[in-house]
């Protein structure tokens, strides 16, 4: 029976090291990988207990085939980050059952370091980074354990590992700051879409009420110049929906989107015909977007330009911002704009006018009739559009209830909402409002996005969550252009002014969460601020940020400056380590006689006589005396006096005598 000479403690810490390195990815990868690992651990423990043997070649091949088969079943598309990491984990797991001696143990520890970095493929939060740091200490500790006999306490090893870790930390920071940034590892294609919440590009009944129960963050905004807009002005546009099929609103996709090109976000889109009312300084804000795996982005009205180092931005013809490809990782972009504007005030081109008036041929007859009545009522009026809008909103305000739990309808949903239940949510209000406007001959469309956001006073930014998802309307008025109309605001102004849970009846407010109190709320804001800063300063530290840093600190980003900075900092660090490790600091010696004796040794070292670690003073003295018999007397007296003070009794006068003796210099 093959016997391994790893102790129980070493084995245990190897398991812990491996587990620590891989636990985070088990949450992402197929569930059976964890079981696979546990089985390998179990087997290795049985080998330790001599209940099982190390597996033969046949069993090993079987285990590999089982693992590969599992991979093939779990990953229909075989080439993705997940499948590669899973393959890595399978091979790494199997190493356990051929873990014979220290050499294999070292391999496990070393690969565990790679394992930790693999976690960053899936998670990039500050918490996983902290976890990674702690895992590093655990791995170092396991590494040390491989070299120690049993019985050395864990806390002792932990202290040693922490020391190594602390010594490594400055090097880590230096490498992070100065090494060329090779793109981000986590910008790799991933199949994983689960767990991403957000609205879709179709607004159907019930779509939003799921979202508002989610507290997860959609994006965070920092206002870099200009004031933070009032809550009622925080309309984050994402999509404009202009086609209605009787149930859902959606983008009129088809060939039109090919014709109406998106345009680069370096200047306003040519088809907007935007009149910016230059009311003060430009509004500039950065948005840190959580990955939503969609192309649309979020902005306030009215943008003039936008830039980003991570994603390629475009303006659409609807005054929204869009990415060239789906956003699969946390990304940051900056938008410039003016809050006062007139959007396409002069005229609406025929195409757009038709699209903004189109209604399904049948259905919702009562709503159509109501709209026609309104249209006739105000046909003689000076400002019919405004009057109709006012009347509808007034009607909403007087008759309707804002609730998260409306009744579900299947047919003629606009009619059912407007005339029967009169209870609904932003999607019902906006949808019915736009329907009525169109039926009354006013160009109108639905806009979806987020409304509001919580201000985080800790770091002065806005957090916009999924529960802030909102839908509103835009109507077009001659001379005014596209105007934002929020029918929900007419019903529940507090939704807009103060946020969702203020607007809901108290029984429903619990659904949305949110209303935390005091300390918890503060803690949540604090944590969010950390994670926000983590992203802004660490994760988005890319090539341009690095260049900016170098320009700021070194006055330029020429190669020689960076190289010099790198070399000098490394040298400085090495100096600090050297001083720490080898400086025979007077303070670190506990005994005065040792200090004096060290002077003596230093003097002798200049003559080429260096005391070996294991030599006693007497042995050293006689060794030197072999070469220099003339020094014998003095050397022996020093050694003997040292022995007397150090090992017999530390007599004060003798010590003074000894210190004087140590000042002896041979001629």
């Amino acid at each position: 029976m093959a016997v391994s000479n790893l102790t129980r403690q070493q084995l245990m810490w190897l398991f812990v090291a491996q587990g620590t390195a891989m636990v985070p990815v088990y949450f992402i990868l197929p569930w059976w990988l964890g079981i696979y690992w546990l089985a390998a651990v179990f087997w290795r423990i049985q080998i330790y207990r001599r209940a099982l043997n190390f597996p033969g070649i046949g069993l090993k091949v079987a285990a590999i085939i089982a693992g590969l088969a599992g991979l093939a079943l779990s990953f229909p598309a075989l080439f993705s980050v997940e499948s590669f990491v899973s393959f890595f984990i399978i091979s790494f797991t199997l190493k356990l059952i051929e873990l014979y001696d220290r050499k294999d143990g070292l391999l496990i520890v070393n690969v565990s370091f790679v394992g930790i970095s693999a976690c960053f493929l899936f998670f990039q939060t500050i918490f996983i980074a902290l976890y990674g740091l702690i895992a590093l200490i655990i791995l170092l500790q396991a590494w040390i354990a491989l070299y120690q006999s049993k019985g050395v306490s864990f806390s002792r090893r932990l202290r040693k590992a922490s020391l190594i870790f602390i010594q490594a930390l400055p090097v880590m920071l230096l490498l992070f700051v100065a090494m060329p940034r090779l793109g981000q590892l986590w910008h790799m294609p991933s199949q994983n879409q689960t767990g991403v919440t957000g609205f879709s590009d179709r607004m159907s009944p019930g779509g939003f009420s799921n979202l508002v129960e989610s507290n997860s963050v959609a994006f965070r905004v920092t206002f870099e110049s200009g004031p933070v807009p009032a809550p009622s002005q925080r309309y984050w546009r994402a999509l404009v929906l202009d086609e209605f099929d009787g149930t859902s609103w959606y983008r009129a996709g088809s060939w039109r989107s090919w014709v109406t090109q998106r345009a680069s976000a370096t200047q306003p889109h040519p088809s907007w015909n935007m009149d910016y009312v230059d009311a003060g300084p430009v509004q500039q804000y950065s948005i840190l977007l959580e990955p939503h795996r969609q192309r649309w982005l979020f902005n306030l009205m009215a943008p003039t330009r936008a830039r980003s180092s991570g994603i390629r931005l475009q303006f659409t013809e609807f005054g929204t911002l869009s990415a060239m490809t789906k956003v699969g990782s946390r990304s940051q972009y900056t938008v410039y704009g003016y809050p006062e504007y007139k959007y396409s005030p002069a005229e609406l081109d025929g195409f757009e006018r038709r699209a903004s008036l189109a209604l399904p041929p049948r259905g919702n007859m009562r709503a159509r009739q109501y709209a026609t009545e309104l249209q006739q009522k105000y046909s003689e009026h000076a400002e019919p559009v405004e009057q109709i809008m006012r009347e509808v909103l007034k009607h909403f305000n007087e008759q309707f209830t804002y609730t998260l739990q409306p009744s579900a309808f299947t047919e003629n949903i606009v009619d059912a909402f407007l005339f029967d239940t009169q209870r609904g949510f932003c999607e019902h209000f906006s949808s019915s409002f736009v329907f009525l406007m169109r039926a009354a001959g006013i160009p109108a469309r639905v806009v979806v996005g987020y409304q509001g956001g919580d201000f985080n006073p800790v770091e002065n930014y806005l957090i916009v969550r999924q529960r802030d998802a909102h839908a509103w309307a835009e109507i077009w008025m001659e001379g005014e252009g596209w105007l934002r109309v929020d029918p929900t605001a007419a019903v529940a102004p507090s939704r807009i002014e103060r946020g969702l849970n203020q607007a809901l009846p108290s029984a429903e407010a619990a659904l949305v969460g949110g209303g935390e109190i005091g300390v918890l709320n503060w803690l949540q804001l604090r944590l969010d601020a950390w994670s926000y800063n983590w992203h802004r300063w660490v994760l988005s530290y890319d090539e341009s940020a690095q260049n900016k840093f170098f320009e700021h600190v070194l006055g330029g980003n020429d190669v020689w400056r960076i190289a010099l900075f790198f070399v000098m900092s490394s040298a400085l660090l090495l100096c600090v380590y050297f001083i720490y490790a080898f400086w025979p600091s007077a303070k670190r010696r506990r005994y005065e006689q040792s200090r004096a004796y060290a002077r003596h040794l230093k003097m002798l070292a200049r003559f080429g006589f260096v005391k070996h670690a294991g030599e006693t003073p007497l042995q050293f003295a006689s060794r030197v005396a072999v070469t220099r018999p003339d020094w014998r007397k003095q050397l022996e007296r020093i050694a003997q006096t040292y022995n007397q003070i150090a090992y017999q009794h530390p007599n004060e006068s003798l010590r003074a005598h000894f210190i004087a003796l140590c000042n002896w210099r041979p001629e």
Partner: protein, 310 residues
Amino acid sequence: MNPLLSDIVDSVGTVLLGKEQQVKLSLACLLAEGHLLIEDLPGMGKTTLAQCLAKVLGLQYERVQFTSDLLPGDILGVSVFDQQNASFQFHPGPIFTQVLLADEINRSTPKTQSALLEAMEERQVTFEGQTRALPKPFFVIATQNPLSQAGTYPLPESQLDRFLMCISLGYPSAASERQLLAGEDPRNQLNSLENVIDAAKVMELQQQVTSIQASEQLLDYVQRLVEFTREHERFANGLSPRGAMALLRAARAWALLHNRAYVLPDDIQAVLPSVVEHRVHGYSSARIHGGDDAESLSHFLLKSVEVIER
């Protein structure tokens, strides 16, 4: 050297030629109230050393030859039924002596070995519920054949740990051997050996050993040594606290032997191989590759550990 102890060493040296270092170690071991294990081939003078020591120190001496059929009773003693008193009478075994030579201890079965070793540790014998103290001083010299020989039961580590020192005598030098061959038969010489001191003096010396001073700096050195064995990769197991205490105790005796009232690192270094080598071992795979036997480990240990704080 302490003149009295020097006399003892010289006196043993007249019979056991050219083994001054080993004699001194054995004496130090005895003075430190430890037991001695001598590991060597047959005929190297193990028995002679034990006999000489007992004789010179004026101690009572018994010898037990260990064999595979030796039973605990053969060492500790037996109860025999006395018909006149109609009761059991305890007949003490050879262990009730001051110097016991357990010859070839690894030839007997573990059961018998452990009977002896318990007595060594406790310095008393419990027999049929009654505890009997052993005479003082009590000193066991066990000899052991190298384990490669047939018919041996190697002592387990826990039992080896009970011996303060483990030494081996080795072949004599050519000159000593010549003197041995040319001279009188050592057995006769042994008879003519006079005792230098007596049991009371031995106990007094043992008492003196405990009062030898070990300074803070010396304890630092001992701790550095012990820690090194626990932390360094070449040691499969580190020294136990008992091992550390044994090291210090032996060094104290060594200091007394050199007529010093305090321990020097030199004392530690002198006794370290014989105290440490039977308590540590390297990795088995390394041993096969010609690497770490206990001797090279103790050498490495002495070489690597700073004597004086850096």
